[in-house]
Subunit: 230 residues, 2 copies
Amino acid sequence: EIAELLDSQTSSQLLAGKKVIITAGPTREHIDPVRYMSNHSSGKMGYAIAEAALKLGAEVCLVSGPVNLNAPTQASLHKVNTAEEMLSAVMAEVQDCDIFIGCAAVADYKPTQAVDHKIKKSNIELTLTFVRNPDILASVAALPKPPFTVGFAAETQNVAQYAKDKLARKKLDLIAANDVSRSDIGFNSDENALTLYWADGEQPLAKANKQQIALQLLEAVAQRFNQKHS
Amino acid sequence: EIAELLDSQTSSQLLAGKKVIITAGPTREHIDPVRYMSNHSSGKMGYAIAEAALKLGAEVCLVSGPVNLNAPTQASLHKVNTAEEMLSAVMAEVQDCDIFIGCAAVADYKPTQAVDHKIKKSNIELTLTFVRNPDILASVAALPKPPFTVGFAAETQNVAQYAKDKLARKKLDLIAANDVSRSDIGFNSDENALTLYWADGEQPLAKANKQQIALQLLEAVAQRFNQKHS
């Protein structure tokens, strides 16, 4: 029991005094007043990371898209719908932030123009055009004094290659790769398995519940963060 | 109290021996393994109608898109995602059905082709084409021996005119018109206000919680149903 207590005390120090921003859940991009485009992110992974960061002593700011989860009460919660709202909320908080974890499944595209009345189904075919949304992760990593920036890569094919490309291209400090073609992990599941990549290393996190994965992820992040600032 | 008891006993007879199918919630149309198009229907109105129909003695079959609500345990529940799945579930149950209430916000369009891997965001612009989904309400009303068929019209403009057109065009027995441009009622709200239209009449249901609106709607439906079969 003493060992456990020491363990929990040691681990509770890991992120003490650090401000961590975590984005979670999907974003919704409005097509018209009733229709939207979104994705299957449940927010469970991001919320688990927020819980774990609080356990490790961090000050946590959780920027969340629409999900059906209860946020940890000690976190400062910002609820948003669109990617642009998420970017604004992140930018308002990022100045004094030490670690940014972009876990949200931000919609890559938004409709070219959202219409303010419901589109009528007059045609056999409907064509919608979309333009790129702001890239929140890249925007944070490109700041003059960026926080330690962690991204996620949720992919269905060539997961490792795509994750390493994204790490370099967006100038991230660490990326967590997620194979979402597996139905037993990832989106909407209570379990996950990740592989972490950074500039000169990698670490697999074997399938476990999202709470355990979140703690292991943050332990790796804290280690890399300390190395970067030592 | 005796009057109340009589009232509740009378009202409990209203749909006794009747099989009622209710569709509820949105549908989700898959664009790729992670992205989908959907709408803001919470399912609250359809679930309230299912509860109310059970109170009035009906046998209830609830065909529901993805929502975060608990279905009444006495209802037979069919969970679906897409409009095509909803149509199949309805058609499997409709043979011996007396009353069909299409309360779901069925997606009018589905992607021309769903892709089985995640679309990469390689382009500045993305164009998606959609084709019309099956029209569940019209399919039910066009059956050789259709049940008493009730539709909803959720509109943001010209609500009354559009509702009456839809009533005639789809050969419905009754339609409930819903002005979803009002933020205090309709989608995601706990309250609603409807105007009911049928071939030779109409009836406004003033703003109330969705449970009360559901009971008033079913009372009007039972009355018109009995008139049609007398």
